[in-house]
Amino acid sequence: MHSSRLCAASGALALVGLLLAGDARAQANGEHYSLRGFGGWALGRTDNNNMFGYVASGDTEYNNYDFALNLAAQPADKLSVRAQAFWGEDLRGRRIDLDYVFAEWAQSPKLKLRVGKVLSPFGLYTEIYDVGTLRPFYLLPQFYSGTTGLLPKAYLGAGLTGVMSLGDEWELSYDAVGGEVRFQEIPAVVVVGRDPATGLPLTENQELQLIGRDMFGGRIELGSPTHGLRLGFSALHARVEQSVNGGPREPYPAADQATLANAFLQYERGPFTLRSEYFHAFADTVDLTSGYAEASYKLGRHWQVAGVYDRGRLSPEAGTFYASLPDQLKRHESFGLALNFWATPDVVFKVNGYSVHGNQSARSANPGVDAALGRLDDSTLVLVLGAQFSF
């Protein structure tokens, strides 16, 4: 699996190299392709043994970086091809992947058909997951990037998308998609038995890949570019399977079917931006709710201050595995503050701090055991210093 990803990324690189050998400014010269990219690096540290956001732990973590190259080509009037290759490393390990590669047939702005691996049209951030110059915090809210890993970046399949004008100031955009989704890989700690001497649970670290088969869903959004307002809803429904440590697909014990629903609001006016989202994941034996509000203000051309409040809750059905987890592993609440310096509109240096309560997202390497022994810190302070850029 890793080698196939490597091949895919290498293929994209070769394609990009060929284009670079031509003229990266070709789009400006009236031709039909463009080459863009983004990246970042961060230092992360927590004040205890907990990890947070896969970039911070009790040891100062320097090994957080990512870079992506984005290619758009238009071989014919109504046909375009888009691809984005991603390289990155954090506490989950090294990741090399194609974020997306798809072909789009644009009948008109009201109706476009996309086929391939396409970014999921879900909420505000899924389509710009790693682009740090489009948000005030280095990390995304925990529902996107936390240990629950519940938002799939992309789907494999086909989708219809479009935008329709509603008078001078307003427009309606919409997406309908179908196919299969791969959720973020989750490093899961699984209880494999009990120590006969102490009676304590024995655990094993596993890489859990959740897969949503026969997925269908969409997003509908009312927006006013003039007023800087976006509000809407998105939802996905799928049959859930799992693959443990890259092994074969098998039923996921916690859920046969799952539905993700989301409502979002964004308001941008001058130096002020407000974003807020609410998520609800419905599965057979467990529900998860989460929401955040994020506000930022730019002071002149360079400085920006921001704050975020983020909250989540896991609600399992009685008698299930998740119900047996200690309460502190089922909740998350955090306050974050940011002070950013925008050297240019495309390069930003970020100082982000969080105060986290609960261990749904901030957790040790063996949270189940640590919680059972009463040594899992419920409160975690996090510092993230980073730089992000795009071009």
């Binding site: 863009r36 009037d77 888009r82 702005p109 389509e127 682009v131 489009l134 003039t226």
Partner: protein
């Protein structure tokens, strides 16, 4: 008294001239002379520059060209036509690019590059500074 009246009249005249100069747009919207359009609503021009309207009424594809983000003319155009600052529009295009939804219009560095592009493309739509010489293109009225 007559001196006071003349002074007041002079002051009013100077103020009126200054105000009139203040509302003069810093840019002019230009199209190819073959384009039959004489004027367009502001919102329609904004949608064309955001690639949400992609054809003229006669079916000819709209091909827009922008100025660089740092250009004072682009700032003025963006505030008037998009009613957002140029940074907000740049963020819109960043979102469109990285989500794989669209790419921004080509960027010209100078008025001369915009004018050359508009002269060469029948469906072209651009804007230049108010002082640019409009040889071989047609100015479009914003309604």
């Amino acid at each position: 008294m007559p001196i006071l009246r003349k002074t007041l009249l002079l002051l009013v005249a100077v103020a009126s001239t200054t105000l009139a100069a203040g509302v003069q747009p810093a840019y002019r919207i230009v199209v190819n002379p073959a384009n039959p359009a004489a004027g367009l609503p502001r919102a329609e021009v904004a949608r064309m520059f955001l690639k949400k309207v992609v054809a003229w009424p006669d079916g000819l594809p709209v091909t827009v060209i922008d100025l660089e983000r740092s250009s004072a003319v682009r700032q003025a155009f963006s505030r008037d036509v998009h009613q957002r600052d140029a940074e907000a529009i740049a963020a819109h295009w960043q979102t469109a690019v990285f989500s794989g939804r669209d790419v921004p219009p080509p960027i010209a560095r100078t008025d001369a590059e915009v004018l050359a592009f508009v002269r060469a493309n029948p469906g072209a739509l651009g804007y230049v500074s108010a002082t640019a010489e409009l040889a071989g293109v047609k100015a479009l009225t914003l309604r």
